[in-house]
């Protein structure tokens, strides 16, 4: 136990990274074209919105809370933007409005959770119903965003063409940027550390003079913002909005975060992990699509198993590190 100096807390995330590459390798071996850079790039393109959502989820989970409203907020913001743009409003205004709403909604949830000490699960669950409903009120029908200057600018001019069919899209860059900011925020700012502190031991955090309430509300606000941003990305990604989309996405986000090595009890984990959580999920999906024979229900079962294994792994690690600290 004492021998290898590799810190316990890095084990889950490195395991995730390992699994990612193993799966990737298997894909390359079993399918031609799987190794093509395009597949790798698409992995980011297709999961950018999930990734951004997962960042918010990760932060919330680090405080020991949970956010179920993610998917609904994405659907809502995307349809809102689509609706406004298609009815002739300037895209920038639409986007900023959407983001503002996301922020406010997150703040509201955080406020309810903190000020009345309601369980986050419950509040965000209600939030999920509410905002989804609002999405339908905006429009029951999916709306396409056609020849809007801003969107086509983002589409054409903000895309780096690396080669035929190899496009580094704006949304991917945006995702990576947000990810970097989030990582930096969570590790190098007091607010970020407070998130960890609260998740680790709320009472202690209070007594150590950490502004628990403010931090909590802030975290849910950030989560709301991330979801809204994910919604914007989604709108850019599809050039459309649809109130039906992203049902149950919150569960994918949570799964990604868990696979990324974050404990649901809070305080332990890395925002960075969510990246690989998302990638692993995406990769599994790609594998299944490439294979093209597996039934949809097997997809579900496999993802379930996947989550299970990662949980077991973490469980094992926490057990080990506990016994380690006891032996001190």
């Amino acid at each position: 136990m004492k021998k290898f100096k590799f810190p316990m807390r890095y084990v889950p995330i490195s395991a995730t990274i390992l699994v990612f590459f193993v799966v990737y390798l298997i894909g390359i071996i079993s399918f031609d074209n799987f190794g093509s850079p395009r597949v790798f790039l698409d992995l980011f393109t297709d999961n950018a919105y999930l990734g951004i959502a997962a960042i918010g989820t990760a932060l919330v989970i680090l405080t020991g809370g949970i956010d179920l409203s993610v998917g609904s907020i994405i659907a809502f913001t995307s349809i809102l933007i689509a609706k406004m743009v298609s009815s002739g409003c300037n895209a920038m205004i639409a986007i900023s409005l959407a983001l503002a709403i996301g922020i406010l909604f997150g703040m509201l949830q955080g406020w309810l959770i903190h000020c009345f000490s309601l369980p986050p699960f419950l509040v965000t669950l209600a939030g999920m119903f509410f905002i989804r409903g609002c999405g339908f009120i905006v429009s029951e029908e999916s709306i396409g965003i056609k020849n809007d200057p801003v969107f086509s600018f983002i589409q054409n001019d903000l895309t780096i063409r690396l080669g035929k069919g190899l496009n580094l899209r704006f949304i991917v860059m945006l995702y990576l940027a947000v990810l970097l900011v989030a990582i930096f925020f969570s590790h190098r700012t007091r607010a970020g550390r407070s998130i960890y502190a609260i998740g680790d031991n709320e009472l202690a955090a209070t007594l150590m003079g950490i502004p628990v309430g403010r931090t909590k509300i802030m975290t849910y606000t950030i989560a709301g913002f991330c979801s809204a941003l994910a919604g914007v990305v989604y709108a850019i990604y599809l050039k459309a909005g649809n109130p039906l989309n992203c049902v149950g996405l919150e569960m994918d986000a949570i799964a990604a975060v868990v696979i990324g090595g974050t404990l649901l009890t809070g305080g332990v984990g890395y925002v960075f992990g969510s990246l690989f959580g998302v990638l692993v999920l995406g990769l599994i999906q790609t594998l299944i699509i490439f294979d093209g024979r597996i039934n949809s229900w097997w997809t579900r079962i496999i993802v379930g198993l996947l989550v299970l294994v990662f949980i077991f792994m973490q469980n094992l690690i926490t057990k080990i590190s506990k016994s380690k600290s006891k032996s001190h």
Partner: protein, 401 residues
């Protein structure tokens, strides 16, 4: 004093909100409360005609199950059809919206019973919806096999062999609960994640069982569960009542309730007091699984088919809402079965009201969310305290106690 008030305080707010909702209906929805006593005769012909309906479907299913011997299947099924009379005991039954609310709410109520116990131990089970699907799937599969005589026990004849699928479904669901319990209590995995596994995988398993098809059935026994009536009420209501009574006895007449609350409140101390905390938690998940099984059967019976994709979809959320509305804290500890039932009824009443009032399907979820938040606020002591301090900061002193 303290004791009794504690017993009932949690019921106040959900009951009040339910009352308000009903009042609203009483005023704005004509004949919301109209309950007529129907005689079975009026329904019998209908039942008669129900019989041939779906029947060849069952046959079709059977055929689908195995290409061979499509011919004699209909006869087999016919015989099964003949005996599907007497959908009600005593010929009379009540008919009206409130009855529907109870009948449709039965699923969530049954779920809520199990969920309450799990939440009381400080856990949560988000897999019940998927488990419902599994239970429905296995039941439908078996009954279709039995109808086609492709399964041991078909000899009993359709008026008896429905017991087989029911038992099978319950056993399977209980096993699912056992699995959850193992992850949570056995391996000490967080309930949320542990049950997430089955939530994700469960529906897949259900589809695996039905091979992704919607299996229809028309076995009188199975159909009776959610469509039959007994002693004036839908049979499902009686199922709920029975489950509730059993759960009540199990938790309050034995020490189980005390143990659950103690474990949910301080697990380590409970272990030191000699309670087998792990087993208690495990047990609650098993019970929850069983309840999910019953709910799954109800769901399937209600529409006479197993729809793996939609059966119990998102019902886990309703069950959790019902429990919390009922006053059980998600942190674990004290639990209130009666409260959970009221919560479930409240949710169902809300939904039905939406239908009756022709609320655009789009916004149905919005009011639901609001009601949930409001009730939970009213339940939250912090909120009460704050309101109190706002209204009468002086009276607050006397106010509490």
């Amino acid at each position: 004093m303290n004791k009794t008030s504690n017993k009932f305080r949690h019921l106040v707010w959900p009951l009040v909100s339910l009352a308000l909702l009903l009042l609203f209906n009483a005023i704005f929805t004509d004949n919301f409360f109209k309950i007529e006593i129907k005689k079975q005769e009026s329904a019998k012909p209908a039942v008669q005609t129900v019989v041939p309906d779906n029947l060849p479907a069952a046959a079709g299913e059977a055929a689908a199950q195995a290409e061979a011997a499509v011919q004699e299947v209909p006869e087999q099924a016919q015989t099964s059809a003949k005996d599907s009379k007497g959908v009600s005991i005593f010929g009379y039954y009540l008919y009206g919206t409130p009855i529907d609310i109870l009948n449709q709410g039965a699923k969530v109520m049954v779920l809520a019973i199990g969920m309450t116990l799990v939440i009381a131990t400080g856990g949560i089970d988000i897999s019940v919806g998927a488990v419902m699907a599994i239970a429905g799937a296995i039941a439908a599969l078996l009954i279709s096999l039995l109808d086609a005589g492709k399964c041991p026990g078909a000899g009993m004849g359709p008026e008896f062999y429905w017991i087989i699928p029911i038992l099978a479904a319950l056993v399977l669901a209980t096993v699912a609960g056992f699995w959850n319990g193992m992850l949570v209590a056995g391996f000490g995995i967080q309930p949320m994640v542990a049950t997430l596994v089955l939530m994700v995988a469960g529906r897949g398993v259900a589809q695996l069982i039905t091979d992704g098809q919607i299996i229809t059935f028309d076995n009188p026994g199975l159909v009776f569960l959610c469509n039959g009536h007994a002693l004036f009420l839908p049979f499902s209501v009686w199922i709920v009542i029975t489950m509730y009574v059993i759960a009540g006895l199990l938790t309050r007449k034995t020490a189980l309730g005390l143990f659950i609350e103690s474990v949910g409140n301080n697990e380590r101390a409970s272990r030191y007091a000699g309670i087998e905390a792990r087993r208690i938690k495990w047990l609650t998940y098993v019970i929850c699984g069983f309840c999910a099984g019953v709910a799954g059967l109800l769901a399937a019976s209600n529409i006479k088919c197993a729809d793996s994709n939609n059966a119990g979809l998102y019902l886990e959320l309703d069950a959790i809402l019902a429990t919390v509305i009922g006053g059980t804290s998600m942190a674990g500890g004290r639990f209130f079965l009666s409260g959970s039932l009221v919560g479930a009824i409240l949710i169902q009443t809300l939904t039905t009201t939406m239908y009756m009032k022709n609320v655009s399907p789009a916004i149905v979820q919005v009011p639901k969310a609001m009601v949930v938040i409001i009730v939970c606020l009213l339940q939250s002591p912090v909120f009460r305290a704050k309101v109190l301090s706002i209204f009468a900061s002086k009276a607050a002193k006397g106010g509490v106690q």
